[in-house]
Assembly symmetry: C2
Homo-oligomer: 199 residues x 2
């Protein structure tokens, strides 16, 4: 299978996941979404789990590219850009559907090592990126010197995860959560003389 | 059906939920867990969804009783006790199993209004309890005067939700998250002269 076909099938898997959810995802509805025969998909991937794990790897690549790196811009601007990426609903993607499907997938993690490994990758790359940005910010004095990068990063990864869960499970405003988290950063992480929020 | 029988069936439903997860939960395995005939359960509840919504109401009652109220103790001690209740794994209950099952249920919320309403109740009672405690703390000067109870409560509900999700989806330490959240409270919410953490 050439790379274009593989990418096309993975993109169809993504759309099928958004449309049907993980429990209802089948090779049939992926084939339909890709406008291919079920046979060809079965031939390349064997079963839904294999294809799904490939999809998680594909999404991981895209995710790490989207996350701002510590190159370019000040750490404060980088952290703000990162929060935009992970907390803002994009109009071009069906964010609510994919987050619902991913929540369903997270509940599968305790029963499926391959899935748990991939989810841990997403969690870790987010943690490391945030930790690096905060460490750089503390280093240049843009962030408060008492901030511990690892603790603050763990904190932010956890609250970002919570924002995603709450926006699926209960009706809540992702904009409001984005603002609440940004205020935390401005008030408690940014060095006092630079911070816009009252201390 | 008398109240004891109803309670017994709901407790069996809880055990079956922990054991099989939501997707695999059936009236059969609930009946087996309750040591009753499937017919009697079917007679009283019609289908799995009805019984499950009753279970959520039952768990909600228990949850509101467990959450510390604003009566008794200082707000700081109350908030600490509340974090213990919602973040500590109890040895007596299969916390990991129930959290996994509840995460699966959260992913169902967008498709099921009755479930979403119940999950919103859990979310709101936690928010209100935390908000009341923080407001009382600010009032008596135990919490920092710049703390806005509604914002801090939204923040804490979101990070508690994130801690629950992460402890299912990726391997992480609930004790460490408990400590991280407690440090946030001590460092950023408690009035400076009372706080144990460095500012």
């Amino acid at each position: 299978m050439d790379e274009d076909t593989a990418t096309e099938i993975l993109e169809a898997t993504y759309r099928a996941l958004c449309r049907y959810g993980y429990a209802e995802l089948t090779l049939e509805n992926i084939a339909e979404e890709a406008d291919r025969s079920k046979g060809i998909i079965h031939y390349h991937y064997d079963n839904k789990e294999n294809l799904f794990v490939e999809l998680l790897d594909f999404l991981y690549e895209r995710y790490t590219t989207q996350l701002p790196s510590v190159e370019g811009g000040t750490p404060r601007a980088q952290l703000s850009a990162l929060l935009d990426v992970v907390l803002t609903d994009e109009e071009t993607t069906p964010d609510q559907e994919i987050r619902t499907a991913l929540l369903e997938v997270k509940a599968q993690a305790p029963y499926n090592d391959a899935i748990q490994t991939r989810l841990t990758n997403f969690d870790e790359v987010l943690f490391e990126r945030i930790q690096d940005i905060i460490a750089a910010g503390v280093e240049i004095g843009e962030f408060d010197t008492t901030v511990e990068p690892a603790v603050a990063a763990e904190f932010l990864v956890t609250i970002i995860t919570g924002a995603h869960t709450r926006c699926v499970a209960v009706e809540c405003s992702s904009e409001q959560l984005h603002e609440t988290i940004t205020r935390y950063v401005e008030k408690h992480l940014i060095a006092e003389e630079l911070s816009e929020a009252p201390h």
